[in-house]
């Protein structure tokens, strides 16, 4: 994983099974597709257009100038303050997620350039316990914004999260307040914050930092909303519209600025950053 090459210590040392299958089956259309073609197509099914999750590395590669990413994530991991055990211990979940993703928690932040414009970029990984925001993610987001203030760079956050990290109880809820408080400092410093919402951006992440972008851009196919469909149906047994919480729904109801295809996101950011050249 080249993006982490300079900070190996940030990676958890696991042996990943070699990726020996050349083919994959699209979960949307069922088509058997050649993996490399999917990857070349920004992890979008070449047959039906379904968006697959991106790893942090893939996402970063897609957005920033080649080799420009410098991982500045703090060297921290979850501390399990509640000694939380459900069917499995939180500690085990963390270690498994680290093993699968190769990163210490559900987010990586770094310095990079986009079309030569220096930025601070944070990227979440949904595969890490649903991209949930616990103390580590909260701290990394704040660290990213504070570095942005220090270096006078725009801050970009790519969200992919189901919400709060339940296993940290109220500590995780408080990350909404924490990231918001630091976001206010970013605003006071006159630096732009571009929030990118991908599939899914919901719960506590959507109800705090992700919704506080100066500009909010949804990736095509994003799911955006506060409460999950199940929660809603259990709580109030309401009939939900077909387009509920889709990118289109959020756009039509004024919650986001734009919807952009994955392949155009880099260009989009580049255009947008151009307006802030005098500011940052």
């Amino acid at each position: 994983m080249s993006i982490f090459k300079d900070k190996q210590y940030l990676r958890v040392n696991v042996d990943k099974a070699p990726d020996d299958s050349l083919w994959m089956k699209c979960k949307a259309c069922g088509e058997l597709i050649f993996k490399r073609r999917v990857r070349e197509n920004n992890n979008i099914c070449p047959s039906c257009g379904e968006y697959f999750f991106l790893t942090v590395e893939e996402r970063i590669e897609m957005l920033v100038d080649e080799d420009s990413f410098d991982n500045i994530s703090k060297s921290i991991e979850a501390a399990d303050p509640l000694k939380f055990v459900d069917r499995k211990s939180y500690q085990d979940r963390i270690e498994q997620a680290q093993g699968v993703t190769g990163i210490p928690d559900a987010i990586v932040v770094g310095k990079a350039t986009i079309n030569s414009v220096p930025v601070i970029l944070g990227v979440m990984d949904f595969r890490f316990i649903g991209g949930s925001m616990g103390s580590v993610m909260g701290e990394q987001i704040c660290h990213g914004m504070e570095t942005a203030i220090q270096d006078r760079r725009p801050f970009i956050l790519v969200s992919s999260s189901g919400g709060a990290r339940l296993q940290e109880g109220l500590f995780s809820l408080m990350q909404m307040a924490k990231t918001t408080a630091v976001r206010a400092k970013l605003a006071e410093a006159g630096l732009p914050f571009i929030s990118i919402m991908t599939y899914p951006t919901s719960g506590g992440v959507q109800a705090s930092i992700a919704s506080l972008g100066d500009v909010i851009i949804a990736e095509r196919g994003a799911m955006i909303g506060f409460a999950g469909r199940r929660v809603i149906q259990h709580t109030i047994a309401q009939e939900l519209p077909a387009d509920y919480q889709t990118d289109t729904f959020a756009f039509e109801h004024g919650a986001i600025d734009r919807v952009v295809q994955r392949a155009h996101m880099r260009e989009e950011l580049s255009s947008l950053l151009g307006f802030f050249a005098e500011v940052a």
């Binding site: 109880g169 109220l170 924490k178 506060f226």
Partner: protein
């Protein structure tokens, strides 16, 4: 151990004995006194060993005092301000001016209903976007005039549903948090009953956060956690314990500033006593906050939230990963997407 119902029956019997005592002129005083002592002992035994799940049930007890009960007792002249100036007037979140100990304060309070009718009007205490936007309006008004803000938290959560999402409930909560993080006046929050996730925190980013002894404050309901994490609804009790959602636990964890004692059995058992304790806490904390210089207040508020969280240096635990190498990583967010 005795349960609440039998103790309530005993209390009734004692009352009946007292009446008999007065009516018939026979002297049961000493017996009655003994029974009363016993009752107190039994109550203490029962309630001092409350499980976290039992606290959840007390926090949700429909007899429990709600925001307006406190507002109308502790404060004088509550002058309600209605409407978000945009969509509507949420009845599950009230805002208004009132006097506490001679000074004007702005109240922002979540309000549950008691009757079915009232609950329909108040959406069972679930706040909608117009509620949070009204809160923002009220807090900004308070800021203009230097009135401190006191928020009462008591909600199962923000109202989930089509109407809420159509008017950007997530954005409304985020805006409220942003407003509170920058508000140039003291903010004091009290969780009086249920502190339900983001819908509660939305009015809880404060300089001091208090909780009544039997209130709970959690990232998710025990039932929700049981369903998502245990995949079994009847694990709610276990989940309640795991979540550390009681005032006592949260105080130990350093996440709240004070626990306001309740009478044995809960705030509704002796409302006056609860009011007294709450009032003196409110006045004390408000006095403390109002003494601070504004810049110091804001710096302290920032530091409070900036430093919140629990993590450790990577690799600090020198264990071997206990992972069995399988890729069984589940998604377990508060509101997990539907797949």
């Amino acid at each position: 151990m005795s349960n609440e119902r039998t103790l309530d029956l005993l209390e009734t019997k004692i009352e009946e004995l007292k009446q008999l005592n007065e009516m018939d002129g026979m002297d049961l005083s000493s017996e009655i006194a003994k029974l009363e002592t016993k009752l107190v002992e039994l109550r203490r035994e029962l309630y001092s060993n409350l499980s976290d799940w039992e606290r959840v049930k007390i926090a949700r007890n429909p007899k429990r005092p709600y925001s307006l009960d406190y507002i109308n007792t502790i404060f004088t002249g509550f002058y309600e301000l209605h409407g978000d100036r945009m969509i509507g007037d949420d009845r599950a979140l009230l805002t208004g001016l009132a006097k506490l100990d001679g000074r004007t304060v702005m109240l922002v309070a979540q309000q549950k209903g008691r009757s079915t009718e009232e609950n329909t009007e108040r959406f069972f205490g679930m706040t909608r976007p117009q509620g949070y936007r009204k809160a923002v309006r009220a807090m900004k008004l308070a800021e203009r005039f230097g009135f401190p803000v006191i928020t009462f938290i008591d909600t199962p959560g923000a109202y989930p549903g089509v109407e809420s999402e159509e008017t950007n409930i997530g954005g409304a909560i985020a805006e409220s948090l942003l407003t509170m993080s920058q508000l140039r006046i003291p903010i004091l929050s009290v969780v009086i009953g249920e502190g339900g996730s983001g819908g509660a925190l939305a009015i809880g980013l404060a300089d001091r956060v208090l909780m009544l002894e039997n209130a709970v404050y959690s990232v998710i309901t025990p039932e929700g956690a049981a369903a998502i994490l245990w995949k079994e609804k009847d694990k709610s009790e276990e989940a309640a314990t795991a979540l550390n959602l009681t005032a006592e636990h949260l105080s130990e964890l350093g996440l709240i500033d004070a626990v306001i004692p309740e009478p044995l059995g809960g705030a509704h058992k002796d409302f006056d006593q609860t009011v007294e304790a709450l009032t003196s806490s409110l006045v004390e904390f408000l006095n403390e906050l109002q003494k601070l210089e504004l810049d110091k207040l804001l710096d302290a508020r920032f530091e409070r939230y900036r430093s919140i969280g629990s993590y450790r240096e990577l690799g600090a635990l020198s264990e071997e990963p206990s992972s069995d190498g399988s890729a069984d990583v589940e998604s377990a967010p508060a509101e997990s997407p539907d797949e």
